[in-house]
């Protein structure tokens, strides 16, 4: 979750000009999307399908578009458009602050770290010790980078989550207030993009190495000592455990898990959770041996059809 200065239910409801149900002095101390909520958080829900999940979650303040019964110990804010009201809160507590120089005076950079020319470092960025940030890299506000990290040129850390809600008039943008966390000993190639979390964190684990042109979506968590070859694309909210190897141009679907030690061969597309310590191939990716058998069979198919 992203902390905010503690605010009462009444203050927030007044800010949104909304009705509420709960103790007016009930305190909200964090903003969070439903997938990541913790006690103290405010979240939103706008579809009856997810009411039960939201009302039963750890979040103790929920913006909701129905006058449901308030669960014990929670607070509700009633809204015709919870998505838009949630975004209003994010914008109030995490406003975008324009930069006027390449390296923000609000950034904190560790000893021994080399920042090459043309690098942009936003507000509240923390970079550890003995890193090497190559020319023309961009690091958005609130990103956190560990020690001994190398980032190659023209890579972008912490751009907004790609998350929109379709309304009749067009797409409405979810303002993301999460962060990117790059742990120690990570190397990131050139022209990569690692998006910030919507309200949580996108994480690249200790010792993981990324080649060039890699995309990591919002709220994706990558384990330790993974190896991704160039042009790998990982969607949002996915978990990649330790020691996973993804070869070139592999695409990974959102909201799945690739378990420890799995290897996915080049140009495969992963559309569901994969067990660890096996080799996968294909679109969609299945065990490589099985896919090779299919491809061998396909090679025989034209002649087979002619015979039949």
């Amino acid at each position: 979750m992203q902390f905010i200065s503690p605010t009462t239910l009444k203050e927030l409801a007044d800010f949104l000009s909304a009705d509420f149900d709960g103790n007016p002095d009930h305190v909200i101390s964090g903003i969070n999307e439903i997938h990541m909520v913790q006690p103290g958080d405010i979240t939103f829900v706008d579809h009856p399908k997810y009411y039960k999940k939201a009302l039963g979650s750890e979040a103790d303040t929920i913006i909701i578009n129905s006058k449901v019964e308030k669960p014990e110990g929670k607070a509700l804010i009633f809204s015709d458009d919870p998505f838009t009201d949630y975004v209003k809160i994010v914008k109030r507590y995490r406003p975008f602050v324009p930069a006027n120089k390449m390296i923000s005076s609000e950034a904190c950079i560790g000893e021994g770290t080399i920042i090459q020319p043309g690098v942009f470092i936003g507000n509240n960025v923390i970079i550890g010790k003995n890193c090497l940030i190559h020319a023309n890299v961009t690091i958005y506000d609130h990103s956190i980078i560990g020690d001994n990290v190398i980032i190659h040129s023209n890579t972008v850390i912490g751009a907004d989550a790609f998350y929109f809600q379709r309304k009749p008039s067009g797409y409405s943008k979810m303002e993301s207030c999460g962060r990117v966390i790059i742990e120690d000993n990570v190397e990131i190639g050139a022209c990569c993009t690692i998006d910030k979390g919507v309200s949580g964190d996108t994480v690249v684990g200790n010792g993981t190495k990324l080649d060039n042109h890699i995309q990591i979506g919002h709220d994706t968590v990558i384990g330790k000592n993974c190896l991704f070859a160039s042009a790998v694309v990982v969607a949002g909210v996915t978990k990649i455990e330790d020691d996973v190897v993804l070869w070139g141009q592999v695409a990974v679907q959102k909201d799945i898990i690739i378990k420890k030690g799995a290897i996915v061969l080049a140009t495969s597309a992963v559309d569901k959770t994969l067990e660890g310590n096996r080799v996968y191939f294909g679109v969609p990716a299945i065990e490589a041996r099985r896919k090779w058998r299919e491809l061998a069979a396909l090679r025989q198919l034209p002649e087979l059809i002619q015979q039949l």
Copy 2:
């Protein structure tokens, strides 16, 4: 078309040291490639297969490599190498003007627009109101950007069309003089590239949202409220109508149409015009249901072949 200051047939023919057929005072007011020509334009044709199309087009001045009969009301310029002579004209009327600072004094930027550090904005660029251009974005000369547009870091707007003519000695470059037009309420992710038109415009329509690592080729026109996930690659001269959704890593061929409301699933390759309001999948992309049946059948094939 790209307007030029009106020039007579005789002046242009003299500039090219070429013979001509037509009224020496006939006026040329625009440069255009054959696909987009309008009255007043000069264009070129160098293959007998396209003579009829060029001579019958709206262009009223044609550079041609054969002493054909002049159609009524047109003017002809004769050239051994119409491609090269056309490029000479583009270079004369749209010369590249080197920049000496990050934001050209010839650029026009609307009220409320935030330009982050490290952004390059070329000559004659127009940017509307309340835009947010993130650090290290590059916007080439003559690009036009509407209101409320967000462009994420290290994206490149308006690089040259990828258009070469093979000659015995190697590739000869078509100089592009077109533009990129980004309409209102568009969001473009990080590390994207949107190339300028050869002589017309590459357009991204109102409310369309592009994720990271997206490539849009020259003269491609994208409608309103489209959604492209990361690493989508669209070739040149293609039309994508409103409300189209392209999921991650989809590749789209040049010179086709994807009609209103079509959805193309991740990693598909679109090689022909697609009807609207349907879901497609595969390489090449066909209706998704059909492709899934094929994949299910393929899974059975190894056993089937063993039985036969």
Copy 3:
């Protein structure tokens, strides 16, 4: 190979605190990976499988993790971890030198070349005549660029090879000391990455044209007058001969050859050496006609299975 100031066997062994076998005054004048070694070079070998290759190679100094018999005329340095000791030598003789301005005073730029704003040019870079380097391009140290070269915005030339050795504790980085060489008349699109060689050179041949979002891995050598459409990904140590055409999103495996005049259709994946002057398609790529027959057969398969 990358030249170093001549150093004796004894000096290097002392630097590594290692035992050696050979004339203490034996001279080392170059650093090289086993694939590219020449007389005068030092290289390393750490797996018995490759001992014979290394000891029989042109390299006359070998760092090795076994007390093998010294071949005539060679010198050996004994090390428990030849990889790490080799990297120590690279770091000593080719240390990374941080830059303090966008264009290094150690760079050499030819007459008539235009460098747009925001371009980073590292130490010891050589750029020829009449080039156009667009805004926000990054060119790492030691890159060499010929005449009449165009490089579009936000492209990165010369980032490190993606080359790691897995150790129990995680990945250990090979420090690359090679170069990128871009020959005359090359055009490179926006957001491309061309990595430097590990100890040799990554080469893009005369007249070759690359579209946007292209990745060229370390030590890959591309011939003359090739044409690569956008999002092509070529792994390391691969050879692409003259006049090869790779269409959009093609992926090419490491350590193979694509021979003169071959054409690979969009979204294919090349996993083995391809003969020249033919057209290929598919994942993995085979002759296009054959792949089309397979796809036609696959379309009939669901009905065929129903009948059987």
